[in-house]
């Protein structure tokens, strides 16, 4: 433990948590403005800096299109009455919001924000913790946030929050499996679980889904696009479910459950749930970008031309990464305002019957493609035939599971 390491870690923690929280507030304003333009509205565009309450004559209206709106939202949450109903289980009621936010922020620790920066004679990785089990760490910690939601639902001691908590629990468990299985092809391809190395590989050899430079131009990589594309779709959808975002926001589901697990919450405690959801969305986008779209790499072979370790290159890469994350956040928002909410049984069917099976078949498909050079065409054909038979069987079983019992027979 040298001082450089400690100091760098402390600075990184401060900066990256700062970036994450800034992104949370940016998410809020993006969500509001983007949904507004989708619905032919304007959205909050005239939030001012209220100098009048400080005794000045006029409010300061900056031409920034309402970017101060998140500040106003936050102030509103802080200044609202923090009401705790008398019938709740106090301890759990108070601890639940924190349990939602903390995992979301913790998972940010392993995401590489930029390329390693040279400092003296050491390279400092631009991730708080350069773990060798990155994605596993994220899955382990991210699934903890369900405790917060379930506890909130249970501690509220009220029926709708309880339903919300139970739904959230079931949903998280269902999609955790698809989430874990769907990235196995990705990990098989990289052969490492270190997110930093994964990004470095992609910078040199083409982003996972856009392999157009370096080794990415090989036939094998282009064949891999089939299983990787399936992986990407399943992974992204599961991230939507994990973050309780719109097509899968059954835990809060205003139309059925009032507000779901946070019905009884007010003020800053509610804001923490809100923040937790958006922080999870930011981390989810960051993870998708890191795994499938080359993380911090600028791409198209440009990274190789830049000097490694220079501070400005690192900053450039951080900027590139944040741009990609922003694009993905916009995608999240677009999906929210496009796709209607699933019915609960549809959600469960999708998770257990469609995605689980698809991810499972996908793992073997990816294995077959990776093994192609060593087993040759004959082996490949046999493997493919076996895979088709197994898939057909799986699909048949899945179909049997969805069939409803005949009403007449019962």
């Amino acid at each position: 433990m040298d001082t450089t390491f400690l100091l760098a870690a402390a600075i990184k923690i401060g900066v990256f948590i700062g970036i994450t929280l800034t992104f949370v507030s940016i998410c809020v304003i993006f969500e509001r403005r983007f949904s507004a333009v989708i619905q032919d509205r304007v959205g909050p565009n005239r939030t001012m800096i209220p100098l009048t309450i400080l005794g000045f004559k006029k409010d300061l209206a900056l031409p920034i299109g309402g970017l101060t709106q998140p500040v106003a939202d936050g102030l509103k949450f802080i200044l609202k009455e923090d009401f705790t109903p008398s019938y709740v289980r106090k301890f759990f009621f108070w601890i639940a919001p924190a349990l939602v936010v903390v995992p979301a922020l913790l998972t940010m620790a392993v995401i590489p924000f930029g390329s390693p920066m040279e400092f003296g004679d050491t390279f400092i990785p631009m991730a708080v913790a350069d773990l060798n089990v990155g994605p596993l760490f994220i899955f382990a910690i991210a699934s903890l946030s369900v405790y917060g939601i379930t506890l909130a639902g249970w501690a509220s001691n009220s029926k709708y929050p309880f339903f919300g908590g139970v739904r959230s629990c079931a949903q998280m468990i269902s999609y955790e499996i698809a989430l874990g299985l769907s990235i196995i092809p990705v990990l098989m391809m990289f052969g490492t679980l270190n997110l930093g190395h994964i990004v470095e590989y992609q910078a040199a050899n083409g982003w996972l889904l856009i392999p157009v430079w370096g080794e990415g131009l090989s036939l094998e990589r282009w064949l891999m696009l089939i299983p990787l594309g399936i992986s990407f779709v399943i992974f992204t959808t599961s991230i939507f479910a994990e973050t309780n975002r719109m097509p899968f926001d059954l835990p809060e589901c205003e139309t059925e459950l009032v507000g779901g697990y946070h019905t009884e919450y007010s003020s800053m405690k509610f804001a923490l749930f809100f923040m937790g959801e958006y922080a999870a969305m930011v981390v989810g986008s960051a993870l998708i970008v890191t795994l499938f779209f080359g993380g911090w790499s600028i791409g198209f072979g440009i990274d190789g031309l830049l000097p490694t370790g220079a501070w400005w290159v690192s900053l450039l890469h951080i900027g590139c990464f944040l741009t990609k994350v922003t694009v993905f956040i916009l995608f999240f928002i677009l999906v929210r305002w496009t796709v209607p909410r699933f019915r609960y049984d549809q959600l469960m069917n999708l998770g257990w019957i469609v995605f689980f099976e698809a991810a499972l078949i996908n793992v073997f498909l990816a294995a077959l493609v990776i093994a192609y050079p060593s087993i040759g065409a004959g082996g490949f054909a046999v493997g493919l035939a076996a895979l088709i038979v197994v898939s057909a069987l799986l699909i048949k079983i899945a179909k049997g599971a969805t069939e409803k019992p005949d009403a007449q027979a019962v």
Binding site: V37, Q39, D40, R41, V233, L334, V335, W337, T338, V339
Partner: protein
């Protein structure tokens, strides 16, 4: 009566995969987003849009020229062409006012005044705009055609006192009425 069995529609494979529908939906939402960003939303012109979506941004943009002729805005007092206050403080409006928004204290016109013959005019004429319901009964009941509902509708104030229109304010809003003014003719 025969029972009608309603079957769920049979979906084709493409529809079952569902992604096509999602992409179509995204194209629709994105088209709306871009159109409203460039002020080309459907109906933007009809609604006098500010250039984003179809929204007209209120305090900067108003639709006053679209107000109908019969629009009932704030009640106000008027003077005639010789600058005489038309109101003779008969207090009929005060009595008819359903929410009791009008308060009149009648005063006599001194005998050396130009209009001494009229005998009375209001000393105090307050309309509490928090109470006023813009029903127009004061206008209807007034025998002197002294009170009218004007097309103004922006009544704002930061205190309750601000919201009470006193006599000066009412004459300021109402202004002067020239010529024969009847409630039933076009001049309003």
């Amino acid at each position: 009566m025969a029972t009608i069995k309603v079957e769920r529609p049979k979906l084709s494979v493409g529809e079952k995969i569902y992604f096509g529908a999602i992409f179509k939906g995204m194209i629709i939402t994105l088209r709306h987003a871009f159109r409203s960003l460039f002020g080309k939303s459907v109906g933007a012109d009809d609604f006098n849009s500010s250039g984003m979506g179809i929204t007209m941004q209120y305090p900067e943009q108003k639709w006053d020229d679209q107000l109908p002729e019969y629009y009932r805005g704030v009640p106000a007092l008027v003077t005639d062409e010789q600058d005489r206050e038309r109101c003779v403080s008969c207090q009929l409006c005060e009595f008819i006012c359903p929410p009791k928004a009008i308060k009149i204290i009648p005063g006599e016109i001194p005998s050396d005044d130009e209009w001494a013959k009229v005998e009375k005019r209001p000393k105090v004429f307050d309309i509490d705009m928090i109470r006023c319901i813009y029903c127009g009964m004061c206008e209807e009941v007034c025998p002197e055609q002294a009170i009218y509902l004007r097309p103004d509708y922006v009544v704002t104030g930061t205190t309750r006192k601000d919201m009470v229109h006193d006599k000066d304010r009412l004459y300021e809003i109402g202004g002067k009425r020239i010529g024969l003014v009847n409630k039933w003719n076009d001049l309003k």
